[in-house]
């Protein structure tokens, strides 16, 4: 790696940390506007409207809520960066511990869904570009316009209704057959745990329950990829090197799906992150419908119970996940496409 690449990476890392800092300071300011005095703040942190006076004073001491405001900002930032996201009094556990249980479950189906959506998006996009202004092009456009105008809950509910309730192909709700004994939790992700323990019955049950949520994620987010692939492909197919490929006598099918598609895939890197961020939002609804117990479940619980530590903790962790994904995408893009580094 040359020094320019390293400088580029360092710049991106600083940007990412800065983004996170802005978010934390923003949330901090907001909390202090809503709860202007230490006691009100303590009530916010307690996540329980019926907390007693002595409990509140305990919380006030524990979090240093009566300190000067700049000390509190520094403490808050320090806490977030050291992974102390507060204590969830509702579940009687530290927020970070709860999230470390729930996050892998969500990531498992969201990431699988994103991979699937990239595959669908690449091929539908390339196909639409190859058949520009023909019925197939318009059909693909119609389908992705419909899927991204669709409320997440409609898509998930229709999938559940049709595939699970009507055709009875897959289970409608839950993460795994509850009668099965779970394998030891070594790798945090249920599916990987099962594979690690060679428990194939459990693994197949997890996969069966995962298909519908994964499919929902994929269908919701493939449109972004399709649209970008199509427009990049059209640009590439106008370029001289592509014409040369055709003129050399290479079959058009090969030229489109191997030469052009490979080059069109590079700018996708940033859009995959976009799709990922969108899917993390959609996961809340998807998990609610399929009774999946991941981050979405935790968020919904926190919403119902006005559990502030829980909701702030999940927001920050999802933000970190998206920021890290963004960072990786930026760096990857910079390495794949040298022009980006120069900007």
């Amino acid at each position: 790696m040359d020094s320019r690449t390293i400088a580029f990476i360092i710049r991106r890392v600083i940007y990412a940390i800065f983004t996170l800092l802005i978010l934390i300071v923003f949330i901090f300011t907001l909390i202090h506007i809503i709860a202007p005095n230490p006691l009100a703040l303590a009530r916010l942190y307690a996540g329980n409207p019926h907390a007693s006076q002595s409990e509140l004073i305990g919380i006030e001491k524990k979090y240093g809520l009566n300190l000067p405001i700049y000390d509190q900002v520094i403490n808050y930032i320090k806490d977030v960066f050291t992974g102390n996201l507060g204590y969830d009094y509702l579940h009687d556990q530290p927020v970070l511990k709860l999230i470390s249980e729930y996050l892998p479950i969500t990531l498992e189906f969201v990431l699988t869904g994103i991979v699937l959506s990239v595959i669908i998006g690449l091929f539908t996009g390339a196909y639409a570009a190859a058949r520009r202004r023909k019925p197939a092009d318009y059909t693909i456009k119609g389908i992705y316009l419909a899927t991204w105008s669709m409320p997440t809950f409609l898509l998930a509910a229709v999938l559940q209704l049709y595939i699970a309730y009507d055709l009875k192909l897959l289970p409608a709700t839950g993460m795994v057959d509850p009668t099965l004994k779970p394998p030891p939790n070594v790798l945090a992700f249920p599916l990987l745990n099962a594979i690690y323990a060679h428990d194939w019955i459990y693994a197949s049950s997890v996969i069966h329950h995962m298909i519908l949520p994964t499919l929902s994620v994929a269908l919701l987010s493939f449109g972004v990829i399709t649209r970008l692939t199509r427009s990049t492909m059209l640009d590439i197919m106008d370029m001289d090197y592509f014409r040369l490929t055709i003129m050399k006598g290479i079959p058009r099918r090969h030229a489109v799906y191997h030469v052009a598609l490979r080059n069109a895939a590079i700018p996708l890197v940033t859009y995959i992150v976009l799709a990922f961020a969108y899917a993390m939002g959609g996961a809340v609804v998807i998990e609610d419908i399929f009774s999946y117990h991941g981050m979405g479940y935790y968020i919904v619980q926190a919403v119902y119970n006005l559990d502030y530590p829980g909701i702030l903790g999940t927001t920050i962790i999802i933000a970190v996940a998206v920021i890290v994904a963004n960072l990786v995408a930026d760096i990857l893009y910079g390495i794949l496409d040298p022009r980006v580094r120069l900007e």
């Binding site: 923003f26 669709m150 809950f153 509910a157 559940q160 209704l161 939002g281 968020i299 702030l312 999802i318």
Partner: protein, 309 residues
């Protein structure tokens, strides 16, 4: 756009405005899908204005429900989860309330919320974006980093967190949406301001000592608005999608007022036996959002001059 063009459009702006809107409409209806979108949007907004005024004046009874096929608040357990037929066009829910009536009653609220959020987004985004682009320097840097931070996060998650902080009231939800919605418009306005701030007519205005407010609104804001309008048309749909998702999660509801998202949420509970309760409110949102997307798509083509007319 050349400088001469801009100056011309400034001086001729007032007398030409009427015909410009009309000519845009003409271009729009030439495309069948955009025409379909326009029909959906006009029907939705028209209904929302009429029904919205009635709801505002009369609340939940009398004339407010006179236009609806049934009383949306009438329990009738005898026809609980009645499938769609000629009496109940879209069926009934578990309480025997007519789903079509409840959907029609709920729609104005989506329209007003999306209008409030998009307009506030445009105004706030215009304020910050124009200041960033016009002043430049560290103000620009700070504002742009803040918009970056907002835009890189999942909007839905942020809106949920903010509305919980605002105690999950309807006002809180709207405030949360506005807070999350302005950054994209700030980006648009900044880019446009950078493009026009060094053009002659802005320089001339500065030299002739035009007040800052006038410079801001009649010079920078108005001349940046074209791409913003095209995006905003599409964005109404995004707001409705996000708001209905919040309603689905039970945030910002004001019972007994029905809400499309929360109807779908209740419907999911009765999915195997009464599919219509979850599906129809969701479909209504889908159709409305598609309407806005089609109109916005076409408007983007018009604004970016991709159409020969």
């Amino acid at each position: 756009m050349t400088e001469g063009n801009v100056t011309a459009s400034i001086t001729e702006r007032k007398p030409k405005r009427q015909s410009r809107v009309l000519s845009y409409l003409k271009i729009m209806v030439k495309d069948p899908s955009a025409a379909l979108g326009l029909v959906i949007v006009v029907a939705f907004l028209g209904w929302s204005v009429i029904q919205g005024i009635l709801e505002f004046l009369f609340g939940t009874s009398g004339p407010a429900i006179a236009l609806l096929p049934h009383n949306p608040f009438q329990y009738n357990l005898v026809v609980g989860l009645h499938p769609p037929d000629s009496t109940y066009l879209l069926g009934t829910n578990a309480n025997g309330e007519d789903i079509l009536s409840r959907m029609l009653y709920a729609m104005p609220r989506d329209a007003y919320i999306s209008i409030i959020v998009v307009l506030s987004g445009v105004l706030l985004g215009g304020l910050f974006g124009i200041i960033a682009g016009y002043r430049g320097g560290y103000i620009d840097e700070v504002i742009m980093r803040i918009t970056d931070a907002f835009l890189s996060l999942p909007a839905l998650i942020l809106v949920i967190a903010l509305s919980v902080l605002f105690h999950e009231t309807l006002g809180g939800v709207i405030l949360a949406l506005v807070i999350v919605w302005w950054p994209i418009y700030a980006r648009f306005f900044r880019a446009q301001t950078l493009r026009i701030k060094n053009l002659d007519f802005v320089q001339a205005a500065k030299l002739s000592n035009v007040s800052f407010l006038k410079l801001f609104f009649s010079y920078l804001f108005i001349n940046s608005i074209d791409p913003v309008v095209a995006y905003a048309a599409l964005d109404f749909g995004n707001v409705i999608l996000t708001y209905s998702t919040l309603a689905f999660l039970g945030i910002g509801l004001e019972p007994p007022i029905p809400e499309l998202g929360s109807m779908a949420s209740n419907g999911v509970g009765t999915l195997p036996t009464g599919w219509w309760y979850a599906v129809f409110p969701g479909l209504a949102i889908l159709i409305i959002v598609i309407g806005f997307v089609l109109v916005g798509d076409r408007m983007q083509d018009i604004v970016s001059n991709r159409i020969n007319y």
